[in-house]
């Protein structure tokens, strides 16, 4: 969000500068092109906008590219009352609008008078294509890459010749390769056999979808047997690479799904696993964490990137406190009666849900993804991993090891384990088990809250968020073996990957069913999960 505003501002600034530059020569308001542009853009007819873009491209107008940018950003508005073109950042009452031709500032009274000059996809592509051609000469490799991709397989010969031109002067290896591919795509269609041979080789090494398509087309069309064979060999090679990367991708998906499961379950692993409290309200604690993220973002709308980081401790505290309240208010009266706890906490979960409905309305809430979390890490055209998932995997591991440390290294951890193994004895040793219970439950709930922050980045933040995860969480904990958070980690990841491996051939639903059935059977085999607690402590 922020970045986009900045972008606009500099764009505006740029525009103004240019205006000043051209000012003495002639007033912008009597530039025939711009005038026609305005009439075309304010018209409600789509075709006119397409015309407007063509007009700009042909006219080679000096402002063309700034205007393109602003159009793509959707900053052009027209006022229904005077049919004039304005530049508007936010179409809200009180905001200012800059008149496009004679840049006078007007304040918006009735937002609905200002209507965005909206482009459709066709028009966006149209503009992007034009802009791409200049992108070829940009400094950043990224932009040049994008430009080449954009122009690849672009029918108009103009584009191709541009690439050829750029190719000779291109220094960066990757971009060069890409350009080579782009050229090759064209060359295979030519008749010079030697050149075609080289082209096929180039294409065979590339994973670009367009390259593959070019080869496929070539195979289907050519009547030159040897070339055909060569191309086919190339294709097979590509297919194998793709298959490999697809496998890699599946594993990655599995891990990221797994990490979500682990995050959701790990709080439970503590409350349920270590304390033996069946907390049916666990899902709602996750939900609370997610809503905390939402509230934080409302409080700091201009620092979305930061807000998520702020939300983590905040969610921990909020959910933690709610958890402690639950423990003090209800659960502590029910120790040693796990099944009653189950019922009571289920009641609490209902209350929390409805509470959220009444406070935040039953509608889902928007939680924005910070720019640093969006985007992909691209290894090659067929294998790229999504950043938000990557962060979640890392985050999951961090949380996990942090917990491990707390339980293994800190005094609290020691006391927790002591109480969970032998309450009476621990008491005798002077451990204030009451307090320990409170802290442990708080910890577990807090972790649930943190999970909520992560979930708010990939799924919807609504009153039903919790219910969606509670059962899975229990499955993970039980599968992993109660009282063993390593088990939770392994179980979560295993289930995640298993799910993803099965999904392609079984379908999402069946995969989930199979996993459940597997768990049921597994529990028959090892009633205490993957990593059971042994010895007398585990009995009863």
């Amino acid at each position: 969000m922020k970045s986009r505003i900045k972008h606009l501002m500099c764009a505006l600034g740029l525009l103004v500068l240019l205006l000043c530059a051209v000012q003495p020569a002639f007033a912008k308001s009597d530039d025939p092109v711009l005038l026609e542009l305005q009439t075309l853009l304010v018209s409600s007819n789509n075709q006119d906008r397409t015309k407007a873009i063509e007009l700009l491209t042909q006219s080679q107008h000096e402002l063309a590219f700034d205007i393109y940018g602003l159009l793509l950003e959707g900053k052009f508005f027209f006022n229904r009352t005077d049919n004039q073109l304005y530049l508007v950042d936010r179409a809200e009452a009180g905001q200012s609008a800059l008149h496009f031709l004679d840049e006078r500032d007007v304040t918006i009274e009735r937002p609905r008078d200002f209507r965005r000059v909206a482009l459709n996809n066709a028009q966006r592509t149209q503009i992007r294509r034009v802009m791409a051609q200049t992108g070829l000469t940009a400094d950043s490799n990224k932009i040049r890459m994008k430009a080449v991709r954009q122009m690849m397989g672009d029918p108009d010969p103009e584009a191709l010749s541009l690439i050829r031109a750029a190719y000779t002067s291109e220094t960066n290896g990757k971009v060069r390769e890409l350009m080579a591919v782009a050229i090759a795509i064209d060359t295979v269609t030519q008749t010079d056999e030697a050149a075609q041979r080289d082209a096929i080789d180039t294409l065979s090494t590339s994973l670009e979808p367009r390259a593959r398509n070019a080869l496929n087309q070539f195979v289907s069309q050519t009547d030159n047997a040897s070339l055909k064979e060569l191309a086919e060999k190339g294709l097979i090679g590509i297919e194998q690479k793709i298959k490999f990367y697809k496998g890699l991708e599946t594993v990655y998906f599995g891990l990221s799904l797994g990490s979500v499961l682990v995050l959701a379950a790990i709080g439970l692993a503590i409350t349920f696993g270590v304390m033996g409290v069946i907390n049916m309200a666990h899902g709602e604690l996750i939900m609370i964490g997610a809503y905390t993220t939402f509230v934080i973002q409302q409080l700091m709308p201009n620092h979305i990137g930061l807000s998520v980081l702020v939300a983590i401790p905040a969610a921990f505290v909020v959910s933690g406190l709610v958890g402690i309240a639950i423990e003090r208010g209800v659960i502590r009266f029910l120790y040693g009666r796990p099944l009653e706890t189950l019922l009571a906490t289920f009641g609490i979960s209902l209350v929390l849900q409805q509470a959220v409905r009444t406070i935040f309305s039953p509608l889902n809430k928007t939680v924005e993804t910070p720019s640093w979390m969006s985007g992909m890490l691209e290894f090659n055209p067929v294998f790229a991993i999504t950043l938000n998932r990557l962060y979640i995997i890392i985050f999951c591991l961090l949380v996990f090891f942090a917990l491990l440390m707390i339980l293994k290294r800190t005094a609290l951890g020691l006391q927790v384990r002591a109480v969970s193994q032998n309450r009476a004895m621990a008491r005798a040793m002077g451990v204030r088990s009451e307090r320990v219970d409170m802290m442990t439950f708080g910890l577990g709930s807090g972790v649930a809250g943190i999970a909520g922050v992560a979930l708010s980045q990939i799924t919807n933040v609504g009153p039903n968020l919790g219910q969606a995860y509670i059962i899975d969480s229990f499955m993970v904990v039980v599968f992993g073996g109660v009282g063993n958070i390593w088990g939770t980690l392994v179980a979560g990841m295993t289930l995640g990957v298993a799910n993803k491996i099965m999904e392609p051939w079984a379908g999402a639903v069946l995969a989930k069913i199979l996993v459940l059935v597997f768990i049921i059977l597994f529990i028959q085999k090892k009633p205490r999960g993957l990593f059971p607690q042994r010895g007398r402590a585990a009995e009863g």
């Binding site: 019922l343 289920f346 209902l350």
Partner: protein
Amino acid sequence: MMLWNLIKEDRGGQILLLLLAIAIIAVPMLNALPPDHALHIPTYTVALLGKYLTLALLALSVDLVWGYLGILTLGHGAFFALGGYVMGMYLMRQIGERGVYGHPELPDFMVFLNWDSLPWYWTGLDQFWFAAILIILVPGLLAFIFGALAFRSRVSGVYLSIITQALTFALMLAFFRNEMGFGGNNGLTDFKDILGFSLQARETKVGLFVASAVALALGYLISRAVIQSRLGKVCVAVRDAESRARFLGYRVENVKLWVFTLSAMIAGVAGALYVPQVGIINPNEFSPLNSIEIVVWVAVGGRATLYGAVAGALFINYAKTWFTTELPDVWLFALGAIFVLVTLFLPKGIAGLFRRKEASA
């Protein structure tokens, strides 16, 4: 006489059966009164009461395993729903040519998923007797297989609760799939008639109500018979000191298995009676949340009393009807509060309030 022995020491049971008897006679009469009469019970109230009774029967079946065997099942809704689905399939077959597509055999949803013939598991269900058998058999079989696995490997307590939950959850997902041939999310609906009586007819509704009441009474007596027998005592023994029972030479897993199966069958019957009265069965009945709610009815009524379960089911469901009509927004708050308060302050449930000192286990 033998029947009397079953409920001799069971005041709650006596009262319950008495009330049922009264209802069976009174409700149809009051319903037959002219609508403007002060005591007239509208037909839809009759259907409503009928529905409550089936749910009470369901609660009864849960109390049998939870109250007396200590198995907290969070998946009993599954058996209820299965019984319901069998009945639903029978009712679908009864529609015959009256479906919107007028197909003589296929239910509408199959026609519009372009199925050309009935799946094998739908065959024979146009016969009521066959359906009736399956209503008992299908839930019973599932319970038997599941129980055979679980009890034998001594899965118990929380673990058992959670895998019962997994069971019903898996079934829910499965029934949501349209390929399964059970109507997917829409489930089975738009029933026309049962045993040739139109489901819309007042008489049929009253009939179903009576049937439900009778079923509940029978269910109660059967459960009671089990509880009274030495098996009942063994159940309690298993609940309170499982290993002791083992060292006395009892095959705990068999005891659990058979009682669990019986309870599943009762639940199935309840489901079968429920469906024609509400007019629809769909995968939501498998939802784990429903199953938990059932347990709460029992907890509210009072575990290990049977009549408590019935009372709890009636109470909560009446409350649900009332709240969702009068104070929709408060309903979940109320339900939640009931859960918490009962578990905290009424561990013995409503029945506990009135039970004599030496509880009849």
